[in-house]
Symmetry: C2
């Protein structure tokens, strides 16, 4: 398999080049989940993906860029934006999706990689910020829909409310090591809902 085939593949979406990229990025994620960033090498990724190490070096200058690309490619995938018709239904579906995601081996592995490496590895830090900005931008739409439906006062800060809702889930997973469950998410949501959905809209001008 020569460089010519790869060049041809690169011009064909879904061709060999795209398949190689997908196999490599999947291998990176699997390595991160199994062994962590510290143990990740081009050799291990290449072996796992079934490609030559030289193929990796041609496309990615180092493991920082490789890991950052794998994280970003994964970012858009695993939490859909719910649209149930009510604020409570949407927030509940979102919180449950977060629980499912961060307690899955893949989700938890990627999250821990972001948390431990973002502070040391600039490319992973950039990937992490892009990832969370994208997530929050998507999710604040839930609050904005609530505002448009008249369920939420227009002075509510969507991002802050989402932080309050999902932060306790991450706290339990990452910090206190207590069980992360949909029952806990529901308890948090039911406490917070009056703050989001039925606070007076503040002084009217």
């Amino acid at each position: 398999m020569g460089a010519q085939d790869e060049a041809a593949g690169a011009r064909r979406p879904g061709g060999r080049s795209a398949r190689v990229r997908q196999a490599v990025l999947t291998a990176v994620l699997d390595e991160l989940v199994e062994s962590g960033y510290g143990a990740l090498t081009f050799d291990r990724v290449a072996a796992r993906a079934g490609v030559h190490r030289a193929t990796l070096y041609r496309r990615w200058p180092g493991r920082e860029q490789l890991v950052a690309e794998a994280l970003l490619a994964q970012a858009g995938r695993d939490i859909p934006l719910p649209d149930t018709g009510t604020l409570r239904g949407d927030l509940r579906a979102l919180a449950h999706a977060v629980v499912t995601n961060i307690t899955s081996p893949l989700g938890e592995g990627l999250l821990r990689t972001l948390v431990s490496e973002a502070v040391r590895v600039p490319d992973i830090s950039v990937a992490g910020r892009a990832f969370w900005e994208q997530r929050f931008t998507l999710a604040t739409e839930i609050i904005r829909r609530g505002i448009r439906r008249g369920e939420v006062p227009s002075d509510v800060d969507p991002q802050l409310m989402l932080e309050l809702l999902i932060a306790p889930l991450f706290l339990r997973l990452l910090v206190t090591a207590e069980p992360v469950t949909t029952a806990h998410a529901d308890e948090v949501l039911d406490l917070l809902l009056p703050l989001i959905g039925s606070t007076p809209a503040g002084p009217q001008l």
Copy 2:
């Protein structure tokens, strides 16, 4: 310096043995903050603490136990329990102390070590759980005091309320990489305070 001196020191609180232990545990924390758990070795810790590597091997079977002991020794130190006379004052002081702690190089370094290694290293996992249990047990006293003063309904779950208050600070530090500030902590507290301090106490029997 022979084993006899050390044995004598071990029997004298504040003696050579205690000083060596303190120097070693401080060196461990400094290494964790500077380079992370992945790079921590007995050689580096011994050099930093100014002791022989053999001294470390006599006392700690491996770096897992060494790091766990250093984390636990640090646990009780850096967040005092405020007692300002009001629920809001206490919670505000607590939240500000958490901000100061987790944004300091030492606090952030230890936290990231816990987060990244607790999942792989059983001794660090045990140390982490003991650490947080101790912290929450101390801090829930703030809510219990509020209940005794009649500021807080007796059916409020102290641990859940503290989780809601501090979780957004950890989310910003560890996950979204947004600024962790006392202004943000105050904003969260002011939102949550009506839930903690003025919720109806539920159906009375």
